[in-house]
Subunit: 400 residues, 2 copies
Amino acid sequence: MTRALAIADVRLTPILVADPPLLNTQGVHQPYTPRLIVEVETADGITGVGETYGDAKYLDLARPLAARLVGRQVFDLNGLFTTADEVAVDAARVSGRVDVGGLRGVQTADKLRLSVVSGFEVACLDALGKALGLPVHALLGGKVRDAVEYSAYLFYRWAGHPAGVACERDDWGAALDPAGVVAQARAFTDRYGFTSFKLKGGVFPPEEEIAAELGDVLEYLEDPALGTPAMAEVAAKTGVPLATNMCVTTFAEIQEAFTEGAVQVVLSDHHYWGGLRNTQQLAAVCRTFGVGVSMHSNTHLGISLAAMTHVAATVPNLHHACDSHYLWQSEDVLTERLTFDGGKVTVSDAPGLGVELDRRRLEFLHRRWLDDDGTLRDRDDAAAMRVADPEWVTPSVPRW
Amino acid sequence: MTRALAIADVRLTPILVADPPLLNTQGVHQPYTPRLIVEVETADGITGVGETYGDAKYLDLARPLAARLVGRQVFDLNGLFTTADEVAVDAARVSGRVDVGGLRGVQTADKLRLSVVSGFEVACLDALGKALGLPVHALLGGKVRDAVEYSAYLFYRWAGHPAGVACERDDWGAALDPAGVVAQARAFTDRYGFTSFKLKGGVFPPEEEIAAELGDVLEYLEDPALGTPAMAEVAAKTGVPLATNMCVTTFAEIQEAFTEGAVQVVLSDHHYWGGLRNTQQLAAVCRTFGVGVSMHSNTHLGISLAAMTHVAATVPNLHHACDSHYLWQSEDVLTERLTFDGGKVTVSDAPGLGVELDRRRLEFLHRRWLDDDGTLRDRDDAAAMRVADPEWVTPSVPRW
């Protein structure tokens, strides 16, 4: 069996996918955003897929890691971390490219490396599941629920990207005030049955955005302040449960934050926590310390939504609906898009993740990446905003 | 695949196995000790084995749990905990049988339930591994080392059980003073190559036992005081790293102990932490809080040694040699005993745990359990000591 499960090939395909003009504290989403599709093929010719961030610094780490994995066992997921550590040490240049802040929290070398690992880990689990005839959730100890609830991820947004910018169109329309946000929420419910909602704030002044909030039905506030001491102060003074995908984004940040009561819910992004098994371990740490856990997302495609759904199905202490950007993505690399019913995604029992790569589509989106002159290969929401507003400067601290 | 992996049968076989007269703060080991052998058989006729504590209160929970597992998937390890919770709630009588103190730490209903689950979890992993052609370590993400180091577990002991008591003999001889302990350590090294040693103290007055200690090469002191506050005080005053398998024995005890700096190394007994996957999660919690982790053992056979070796092989942050009582056990239920070389056990790459049940031997040891009049079916080290010393009263607190 182990001979058949050796990794024979790893293919990396960077792509650019359409992204609508969603607003955030940094600026606005660019018309196309980079993602990296990872394919791991076993000696028996079974292929597993994963996806992760596709910016250049991720590719720089993914390429040497891919080369090192050939010949290793597809089930050797603990070894994957050791190998990634070795690659990261070799790639000393990486440490010089870390930037502080941004929408993904402090961008450390640690998180960068784990984000890359996550794409490989998911691809390995998909391949392993297909080879064994088992769904990914079974490889993670089995699902404890048959469907995973997601929240409708509401955004302030423009109807379209600035005039003259190459982009894909969608029919969501603008949402630039409370009425627009409410209309967007209604559309999410009508189309997909969502009953939980999450609003990406920090775009307009607090006194305007607060009118769109529902104080008495609020489950949590996400990252209303920067850093553990400030979060601890807000938590102590307001009593509103605080969630984070910025203050606690790595295992190294947990001890201080949990000891000081700075967060009540950790929103795990399986990409930067290092994959599905690390997400389960994070959930165990949270359970041990009486802290809630749910899942966060950044712009992602169906492979990652399937991965999130499999792991979320195995976490007993998942008491909040997960986030997903998926419905904002009009393009995907799958032969069949994942669907939401009653705001939920059904957990697949098919082997692996239960998704199939559309190679023609992948090639098309890769061609877009190849054809790009480099301006879109690294996501930059501030640059996108400056296309519409040349004076735009990203606030040094969030508006609220 | 999933049809073939459904559980068709679960067999529970309580046995009595020979145990030498090892001394501890409670008294002395009885000549035979109860263990429970769990066999899980899949629809395809593949059988996995596990073992756990065999006292009556464990059997009382194991029996209804076994009945509920038939028809479930052998990979459904998360569901195993849910099912065990349901069984424990039904078995309300269990909560009335919890005793406080003893060699396994505070005996809570939680720990009792998880100890039972661990035997089933290991049996399921063994069956799953055999069905898929993968070693158990591969089901846990793959080994990060090829052999696992154990420490020689030194005990004060008599040469044999009291005259007139039915028992098996061994050739270790007595160890009742520092010279005896040193001779025992030498024998462990000569026979099995051990380089780490652990002495079970608390038998003689501290001023006598201290002469057998090696202060300057001490890695840690295990449970020198009872409870988190006392452990925290010792840790703060002595600076010697403290290990525990009593103060932190469940996830519920971690938060207080870690926050107060009461322990520096958690010794996980996979039986009462609820199995191999929970042991991995414990290791993740420890890593997150900068606390060391290693593995503890109580009297056990080769199935549990194999299970410990598989999980220990997958834990990156295992920086101390594990404990094992295995070499004190002259009897086993396997066709072939596990062996130590250079104080290490090689991690098996055979499917499942890599061990084979000796059915004739199992039947023989089960017959011994059936023939017992009930005096040995529940381990009682104080009762065993009273056979030699009718005045014996277990100290209410350990001697030191």
